[in-house]
């Protein structure tokens, strides 16, 4: 399966066993979603469980919170992460705080799915990576898969989780992994081992990172599309780096990070999102706090620039192979 099929399968499996799950969002019903992630679900489960919504993100999330208060488990879709901002009030002030402020009387077990990330010439409003906005909010979990296998297992866990989850899907790798070489043809998922996705139910626990490549020289913390870009850059360098795919940003798998950095003595953080106050800053601070005496070099961040995501200059913006190569050289010389 590619990542879209894996997500579709997760939704299908959960909807099949739990009548309280509803899927809602712009174009998700009859049409099956602009990325086809919800294809066939309305036909199978009916219009009251899979339905199109008006174009109002604050309404989609607000209604989902109300449905959750009733006892349903809504899986709303925000068409692009760039358009999640109108729903911020409902996510930050309501979904994230509902359990806390009502001392558990009301909860919001909703899973907000949203395609995110760049590398597709999406320009300013189809490329953003706003995960740092959500990791800053107490009461929500933030999950980002990097393979079809993980996407399905993590989405099932997110839907089964009783806390609100922001589930960002890196749309650049919906159809195949991306190594950062935008000038080369795309490889489909079929040639990647993580495209072998079981058709049945399985879970990947939230809060557990994956060691994508074990190594001794440097620990690289990353997630989403950048997992593949980093893996390619490391291979091209012939570096013995330990690559950790965080998969869940909150709650974070600090134990895996700590063990790795204490082993390698070096840590690099890589994400597409802009640098200042991005999630990389949190990771860098945590590694510094937890692993200070083991560090042989400053923690280095390789990220998007602190600019809005440009259209024509996409590959100058994107943290690709050259930026990674230079940064790897530097961190190994530090």
């Amino acid at each position: 399966m590619n990542m879209i099929q894996a997500i579709n399968s997760a939704l299908d499996i959960k909807m099949g066993v739990d009548p309280d799950i509803v899927v809602m969002g712009e174009d998700v019903g009859f049409f099956g979603g602009v990325f086809k992630a919800t294809e066939g679900l309305q036909k199978k489960y009916g219009k009251t469980r899979v339905f199109d919504t008006p174009i109002t993100e604050c309404g989609i999330i607000g209604v989902a919170v109300g449905m959750a208060a009733y006892g349903l488990r809504p899986v709303p879709e925000i068409q692009f992460a760039d358009y999640i901002y109108p729903a911020l009030d409902q996510i930050v002030s309501e979904a994230a705080r509902l359990r806390y402020r009502s001392a558990g009387e009301f909860t919001a077990p909703i899973t907000v799915r949203s395609p995110f990330g760049g590398g597709i010439f999406g320009g300013q409003t189809h490329s953003q990576s706003p995960e740092g906005i959500f990791t800053h909010v107490s009461g929500i979990k933030t999950v980002i898969p990097s393979t079809p296998y993980d996407a399905k297992g993590l989405l099932i866990s997110a839907i089964e989780d009783n806390d609100p989850v922001i589930f960002f899907e890196p749309k650049r790798i919906y159809n195949g992994p991306f190594d950062g070489h935008h000038d080369r043809p795309v490889t489909p998922w079929a040639r990647h081992p993580a495209s072998a996705v079981p058709t049945g139910h399985y879970r990947i626990p939230l809060g557990q990172a994956a060691i994508v490549r074990p190594g001794e020289d440097v620990t690289i913390l990353t997630y989403g599309t950048m997992v593949h870009v980093v893996a390619a850059a490391v291979a091209e360098k012939g570096l013995d780096a330990e690559i950790i795919d965080l998969r869940t940003l909150v709650p974070l798998d600090m134990a895996t990070i700590e063990a790795s950095v204490k082993k390698t003595g070096r840590c690099m953080v890589v994400h597409e999102a802009t640098k200042t106050s991005g999630f990389g800053a949190e990771l860098s601070a945590l590694v510094q706090e937890h692993c200070f005496h083991h560090l042989e070099a400053p923690v280095r961040r390789v990220t998007g620039w602190d600019t809005p995501y440009p259209h024509s200059l996409e590959w100058a913006y994107y943290p690709g192979p050259v930026r990674l190569s230079l940064a790897l050289d530097k961190i190994m010389q530090d």
Partner: protein, 423 residues
């Protein structure tokens, strides 16, 4: 930046900034306020199409006339015992407000908000809903809880943030949550409960349930985007929901003109969405009851949502942090052409021979005593800043279902801090 030279020969534009009619010190005259005549507005069947009752959104549904008679087609014809129950719950709400306002002034808590003058908009509405219909209130519908006989002590514990507070001292006073009373957790963020109520109603409908939802917001909050998205969703999916707008004329210091009241009514907002809109005398408990019952019937029969504008007046300050004498005329309250909801219902009961001044005085003493006894009991659990509240460790609970490591770590740090501070 203004342009240097006028374009062609055009008159310069001017920006209209609304201004209330009466500011502090101004004499108040509502002589030109058109109340309409009690009983004059027709009552359509609840299955009517929204467009067929446009004029109701621009009228004022009133049942009680100036003599205290219930007149016209909207008269809900309630048994006197039921009316007396409503009167008592409204009086209890007012007595509760008075007591808790004083408690704040005495430093027993940080904050309070009264609903004085608006008691009918929640108590009479609660009487028209079923007990298990879900309410999504704003912060000025304490009358819903009281009408549903929710224990005053529980409400006071919340206001005092004491060890009896079920919300563990996490919320500001008056942000109640009472699932068992069908009273959704109150949020400080305005109008967020509107789409949530619609979502709850959609869920009920999708499950083939028979319960409906009701939401409340002030006229000021109708300017929020959530109001628009809620009405759109409610209309699109014909959600079984009653959407109440409490137009009490004031959003803190801003008069209703800043929410658009100069141009049209709030009930008329419904028309553009294809939702039934009623405009009701919010100080007339019978009219509020009748409109709510109509809307509830409509929702239950599958005819979709209703927006009810309750035209009323915020008789007191916005909150204990507010001084209305700084922005509005003190005369407004006494000259308000729709009077006081409690006084009007009382007069009606006397007019029909079901009540008298003696019984009213006895009831007033009773509710005051009930509130006093509850306050005494609640204060045994502590008041804000004095005595033991919830242990600090509870601050870290319920952020998530299970406490993640980073909160465990912070709990550990807090434990050290607590010890170091000698507590």
């Amino acid at each position: 930046m203004t342009s240097e030279e006028p374009r062609r020969n055009l008159r310069p534009l001017s920006l209209h900034v609304p201004e209330p009619r009466f500011r502090p010190g101004d004499p108040v005259d509502f002589a030109d306020f058109d109340r309409g005549r009690a009983g004059a507005v027709p009552r359509p069947d609840p299955d009517v199409s929204p467009e067929a009752i446009r004029e109701v959104a621009y009228s004022l549904v009133r049942v009680l006339d100036d003599e205290g008679q219930a007149v016209g087609p909207w008269n809900p014809r309630l048994a006197p015992e039921r009316l007396i129950g409503m009167l008592r719950h409204m009086a209890l709400t007012r007595a509760y407000d008075d007591r808790m306002y004083r408690a704040q002034r005495q430093g027993k808590t940080s904050f309070y908000m009264k609903s004085t003058g608006e008691e009918a908009t929640s108590v009479a509405a609660a009487y028209a809903l079923d007990r298990d219909d879900m309410c999504f209130p704003s912060y000025r519908q304490q009358g819903l809880l009281i009408a549903r006989d929710w224990p005053l002590v529980d409400m006071m514990n919340q206001v005092y943030s004491n060890r009896g507070d079920r919300l563990k001292g996490r919320q500001m006073p008056i942000m109640y949550s009472a699932r068992a009373a069908g009273f959704f957790s109150i949020s400080g963020n305005l109008a967020t409960q509107y789409p949530q109520a619609v979502g709850w109603a959609m869920a009920s409908a999708s499950k083939g349930d028979t319960r409906i939802a009701a939401a409340w917001c002030g006229e000021g909050s109708t300017a929020e985007g959530d109001f628009h998205s809620a009405l759109t969703f409610a209309s699109v999916y014909r959600a079984p929901v009653v959407l109440n707008v409490i137009n009490n004329q004031w959003a803190i210091s801003s008069f209703s003109g800043f929410a658009g009241a100069e141009a049209t009514t709030f009930a008329a907002r419904a028309i553009g969405y294809g939702i039934a809109g009623l405009r009701v005398d919010g100080n007339d408990a019978l009219a509020v009851h009748a409109a709510t019952e109509w809307a509830a019937d409509r929702a239950r029969d599958g005819h979709g949502p209703t927006l009810i504008e309750h035209f009323t007046y915020r008789a007191e300050g916005h909150s204990t942090s507010d001084d209305p004498s700084k922005y509005r005329s003190a005369e407004e309250r006494s000259k308000w052409p729709l009077g006081d909801p409690i006084a009007r219902l009382k007069q009606h009961l006397i007019t029909i021979g079901a009540w008298d001044e003696e019984r009213q005085a006895a009831m007033d003493r009773e509710v005051a005593e009930e509130v006093r006894a509850a306050a005494k009991e609640a204060e045994q659990n502590g008041i804000l800043g004095e005595g033991l509240h919830f242990p600090f460790s509870t601050m870290f609970e319920d952020v998530f279902e299970e406490m993640p490591w980073h909160l465990e770590e912070q709990l550990g740090e807090m434990t050290e801090e607590w010890k170091a501070s000698g507590r």
